[in-house]
């Protein structure tokens, strides 16, 4: 009996030797998809397209912080919290190479988006196109390239000298167009500002040619790029390059010759009658060309939400990180009290706050605006004024934006300069808190304004643009700092 026990034990031990060892040594994760099969179905391919959006929507980017950083580099907001996590150093023009929450994170995130787009484009070329067919493949590639362009554009605005400085000859950012999936030698020098802009335009042109005209729902028309999205973004990019004639050419594709201004093909973009309807949770009007969607299941994350920064606690439960500077656009006498846009500010205590992002659910799930039709109209208006001087269509475009919110005002500027000044002021009112203030200063070579506790930064100053991420400088031997 003892012997049989022995045999059984030995047999069990032997069994153990062989049993399912192989399988167990190669377990397959049950909550992710293997690299090899990522392009196997339309579901996965479109899922990857959405993932690029989801990544550009992420905290560090167009879901909130990119807009906020550009807003607070202007003079219209006051910092209330002196917290570098929420941009105090950006606000007072002192971010350093190692500023985690601004300089480092935005850099990493933008390139993560770029690489996702590159990995996707490579995968479509090698595997994906036959799976979804040529037409759909082109659509998806158009979206990927548009998002890549948006990422590069955001990098140029923060980390590179403006295009006007040396006509694009200054150092831009490393230009990467191939997907990276493994270890390798990733040293790469900065392309020039001009080279990066050319790539952005190339991507947007491709997108314009290959994106669908529209989607099946208003939500998709606002949250996925279509042809007019590419054109609208081009007007912004070209304006930054001061290629005003090209701004006119592009804008005219989606702006009718005369009022009421609207896009005649593709998604019928036009100004919405009610300014307030453009903001908030799930605002998907025809004026919202591209916005980043949020919901309770896709909340923006701590200390990244537009509403959290701009709303005081008594208004929407926000942290009141930034109030409106009384000496900024808020104090502009021509911005009338009856202007509908004043209604999207709120006074709490002694301070006035931006109220565009008013979600009170505690989750701050207001859609983050990326580009609105009103901006396109103002881009066109400014380009017309700069090319043609005192241009009547430019005035009409300006008035279209103004009178939508303030029917009591009709501008009739006496000179081209006066017109341009009105347009620039209008941009600050109309697009307040939508991430245009900083780039409007830098593209025009204007000083970053003095604010309480901080001095103005002249356009030739080192602080005019951000320093390069210290991590990039450490790891990319060809990288140079600003």
């Amino acid at each position: 009996m003892k012997k049989s026990f022995l045999y059984i034990a030995s047999a069990a031990a032997l069994l153990q030797l062989t049993a399912c060892e192989k399988d167990r040594l190669n377990p397959i994760p049950t909550n992710s998809i293997a690299e090899a099969s990522a392009f196997d179905s339309r579901l996965r391919i479109e899922g990857q397209v959405r993932a690029i959006y989801a990544s550009i929507k992420n905290s560090g980017m167009y879901g909130g912080r990119y807009q906020i950083f550009n807003d607070i580099r202007g003079g219209d907001f006051l910092n209330e919290r002196t917290n570098v996590v929420t941009g105090f150093d950006v606000w007072n023009y002192t971010p350093s190479n190692s500023s985690t929450n601004s300089v480092q994170n935005h850099w990493s995130r933008a390139y993560y988006v770029i690489n996702l787009a590159n990995v996707f484009l490579d995968g479509m070329a090698s595997k994906g196109t036959p799976v979804v067919g040529e037409a759909l493949s082109k659509n998806f590639q158009g979206e990927a390239r548009l998002l890549r362009a948006m990422s590069y554009y955001s990098l140029l605005q923060l980390y590179a000298r403006p295009y006007w400085d040396g006509n694009g000859s200054k150092p831009g950012v490393p230009l990467r167009l191939k997907g990276n999936t493994g270890s390798g030698d990733y040293a790469l020098a900065r392309a020039t500002v001009g080279e990066v802009y050319n790539q952005i335009l190339d991507d947007l042109n491709f997108a314009e040619q290959n994106l669908p005209l529209n989607y099946s729902s208003a939500v998709l028309n606002t949250t996925r790029a279509h042809r007019n999205t590419a054109i609208a973004l081009k007007t912004r990019v070209l304006l930054s390059m001061r290629r005003y004639a090209d701004v006119i050419t592009e804008a005219n594709k989606i702006v009718s010759a005369a009022a009421p201004f609207r896009a005649e093909t593709g998604v019928p973009h036009a100004l919405e009658p009610a300014f307030a309807s453009l903001f908030g949770v799930a605002s998907t009007t025809n004026e919202n060309i591209l916005s980043m969607p949020f919901s309770s299941a896709e909340a923006p994350g701590t200390q990244n939400q537009l509403g959290y920064y701009y709303g005081p606690s008594a208004f929407n439960g926000g942290n009141g990180e930034y109030s409106l500077n009384p000496a900024g656009i808020l104090g502009n006498a021509d911005w009338k009290a009856t202007d509908a846009r004043r209604a999207l500010t709120t006074v709490v205590g002694s301070k006035t706050w931006l109220a565009k992002y008013a979600d009170k659910s505690g989750l701050f799930v207001d859609f983050a605006p990326v580009i609105r039709y009103a901006e396109v109209l103002l881009n066109l208006s400014e380009a017309l004024a700069r090319v043609n001087g005192l241009d009547q269509r430019a005035v009409d475009l300006l008035n279209a934006v103004r009178r939508r919110s303030d029917p009591t005002t009709t501008f009739a500027p006496a000179s081209a300069d006066a017109l341009i000044n009105l347009i620039l002021t209008e941009r600050r009112i109309e697009l307040l808190g939508e991430g245009l203030a900083g780039t409007d200063l830098t593209r025009l070579g204007l000083a970053l304004p003095a604010k309480p506790g901080t001095t103005a930064v002249e356009p030739n100053s080192q602080q005019y643009i951000w320093p390069i991420s210290s991590t990039e400088l450490l790891l990319n031997p060809l990288m140079e700092d600003n």
């Binding site: 034990a9 167990r24 690299e35 990522a38 899922g47 350093s96 606690s313 210290s470």
Partner: protein, 1044 residues
Amino acid sequence: MHMRKLLFMLVALLCHSLLLLAQTRTVSGTVTDDRGNPLPNVSVQVRGSNQGTVSGPDGTFTLSVPANARILVFSSVGRTAQELTIGTNTSFNVSLQPADRSLDEVVVVGYGTQRRRDVTGNIATIKGGEIANKPVQSFEQALGGRAAGVQITIPSGVLNQPPVIRVRGTNSISLSSYPLVVIDGVPTFTGDVSATNAASNVLASINPNDIESIDIAKDAAATAIYGSRAANGVVFVTTKKGKSGRARVTLDSWVGFSNVQRLPELLDAFQYTDYKNEALRNAGTFSATNQFRLTNGPDGQPINTNWYDYVYRQGVQHSNTLSVSGASDATSYYFSGGFTNQQGIIKRNDFKRLSLLANLDHRVGKVLSVGGKVQYSNEDNLAATSSGALGDAFSTAGLGRVPLVTAPNISPYNNDGSYNYSGALIGVMNNLQGQVGFNNPVIQLDQNRSNAVNQRILTNAYVQLKPFEWMTLRSAYGIDNIWTDNEIYWSPISGEGFASNGLALSQLGKNKSTVWTNTAEFRNTFAEKHYASLLLGVEEQKTDGSGYGLQRTSVNDPAFTNIQGGWSTPNNAGLFIGESYLYSEFARAQYTYNNKYFLSGNLRRDGASQLGANSKYGTFWGASLGWEITRENFWQGAGLDRIFSSFRLRGSYGKVGNIGGLGNFASLSTFGSGLYGGNGTVAFNQAGNDDLTWETSKKLDIGVNFGFLNDRITGEVTYYRNNIDGLLLFVPQPPSAGLPTNIPQNIGAMYNKGVEIDLGAQVINREKFSWNTNFNISFNKNEVTALAPGITNVIGTTGGLESPSITVVGEPIASLFVTRTNGVDPATGRRIFINKAGREVYFQHIAPAGQPRWAYADGSVAPAVSSADAVVHSNTQPKFYGGFDNTFRYGNFELSTLFTFQGGNYIYFGTNAGLRDQRFWNNSTDVLRRWQKAGDQTDVPKAIFGDNISNGSSFPLDMNVFKGDFIKLRTLTLAYSLPSSLVSKARLSSLRFYVNGNNLLIFTDYPGPDPEVSSNGNGTTNFGIDRNTVANQRTITFGLNVGL
């Protein structure tokens, strides 16, 4: 057949007791030590019965024994037991020799035990008694200073945070440097299983009072049997088993009080208000609407709040363990139940443990043995909110930080008694400022919870066959199952839960590991002098983890405080799933000649699922030699044997591995799924590596063990060198490469080398008075010798916000990386920085018109100094550390002290940057010596409101680096054992009272509360940081040990 046997036994037993009743006789005698002094408290037992007594103070004893009693057993702690045949004698005079203290001890090695004499690997043994009855949550917290080469750092005063354990230095960069912990033969989970702000060290489920011994294997020979997991050393924990003799019942209880110590001295309300207004004036922004102001409290006096009073407390702690144990010829058993309830020094930080343990071993006949253990434990790890000590150093809720930051001129309560808050933040009261603090800690402490409750079952069972004396076959199966119930609630009133209008989260984390081990062992002695053994085994270990939870925000009614209540969102929380598998074959061979030459070898082949497809298997080995010189004729001929009672040379070399902390699917490239606009996404989220494999440690160990004067003085000196190759680095690529994750590659190299010295002596050993002392010191040098090509360094971050640590080739791991300063300009009060080029740069936060913020000494504009100007500054790895342990016995009194020390390391005292921050933050009283006028010689610059650069908040500065040398009186215990005469009257076998102090004294120049902390816990590349850390508690306990 069995039935019959049982019946027979029963009858025999009955007869036996009948006989016992029928006939007895009396024996007596005296027990003495080897020098003839009487020995009290010696157990005198009739073998095979429960008849027994103990010798009295004069060494004499009297005992009634049954007529059929054959053998008397004399035993005493620390002495070799003796057995005498009774025969017809009635008088016995016995002399008990001191036990050969070290060499006859049994040492736990992998898959078995060995006599200390036969061990040639390097294994330190710590007796259970040394760690029992201490005010700790887990046994490793009490190991500090107890063993050479083992460094323990208690990272903070937060209860049950896993201590930092380093066996012979830090042996990994990216993976764990925590040793493998094997409890009763089963490799176990380690680390913090909590998903909340309450720390939950899994090892805390072991009641320290249940531990018989801890053996720490350090070199390759001792660890190689654990192959791929051995590089950081192996800690064997053996729980208590029943000892032969009648049932012993013990009760161990203590109650204690813990306090916070050495907190920084802060500005009071008046100083704060004046100082901050001065800073506003200097910034040019002081005005009627922008200033700090006092507020009168309900008593009409200005509010002057000491925030420490609201956050810290005196913690009351107690622990009770009741055990029953014993053994007969066939069966040994140990049962224990323990309950401890410990309050931390932070309010609402509690630890409660209920533990039950049963160890049972039974011999069924001559060949077959079976046994096993069952341990159940329930640990409540409770906290109100973040302490800032668990890697979240900058948490605005962090209770370590909040009292330092919050303005002292406001109160947690408004004058009407309601909470003072404004939105998420504490209200400013009369201050004309946007913010004068972060969260109101009182609201958090009153309302919020952040708990982790563990249910753990640790069990194993074995079957053992010993068909021949020389052959043992054993199959053992172990299960380790931990369920962690995490629960967080944030009140919507203010603080963390304000923005989301409240939050409730519940998450269940499940971890399970099963181990099946089959071994065959052969051992025999041939021709008297040749002893040989061979162990062969196979083992498989499967580990599964999964978790799920619900996070709800926006509460419908403030009455709802759990996820079951009414909330508006139902989001998921804490989802994870993973598995790993380890398959192993191993062998150990050992040969001893005449107890003079010792030879052993270990071999293990492991296959691990976590590794790359191309490199699943690895082979590890260790070999050692020992030479007991005292047994050589020439030694004896030279008369050296009269000096040395033992003198042994030993050496070992081998190759072991490390995969601790490697993710389950770390080698794979994967695409994860999320949401965009309500639709599914597929994103490239992990870059893998098919060649991912173990880190390899090649360990050399050369040592000498010696004993003088019949081992009254023993010592051990060891040199070791551990070369680690193929260090896994999550190789950071340039961020612009856009990779989702850093790719794990086996690419780095590092070494630790050093010397360990361990000396022990029975200085005095009289009957009335004895003094035992033990001193150990370890010197370690760590140097990183290779990182990945193109990778010049690995930056270590603290709290996700600060990067004061760097790992570079040619320096020890986790060196401090700070920007240099050179004091304060006496003329202008500006902070002087030193930039990368070595030039002095003067900084003023607000520059007067026409002056730059950053200027060279000549006033010309200088580029801004930043972390880009940082230099590799100093090492955080101690050059030496150790312990000094003394036990004095006088009669029934016992005094023991343990000092621990370390030195040669530096600490980045990041808290100090915060304490001098010129935003609204409160400051330490250091700022009272700030620069105020030309000519002031000081280290504190002119106060300019908003300045967070010259103090080191913006980027780390060298002036916040301090030496970390210390000597601590870690424990001091004074105990009194009642004389046996009194005890026996109370029908007890022993009764001991004691008072114990933990962390009573710290001798250090370190300015922070405690140089022995770690803001980043067990982090390897960010060690040596003290950022808003809660200091270790100082505890005094009163206890008693009762034996029945």
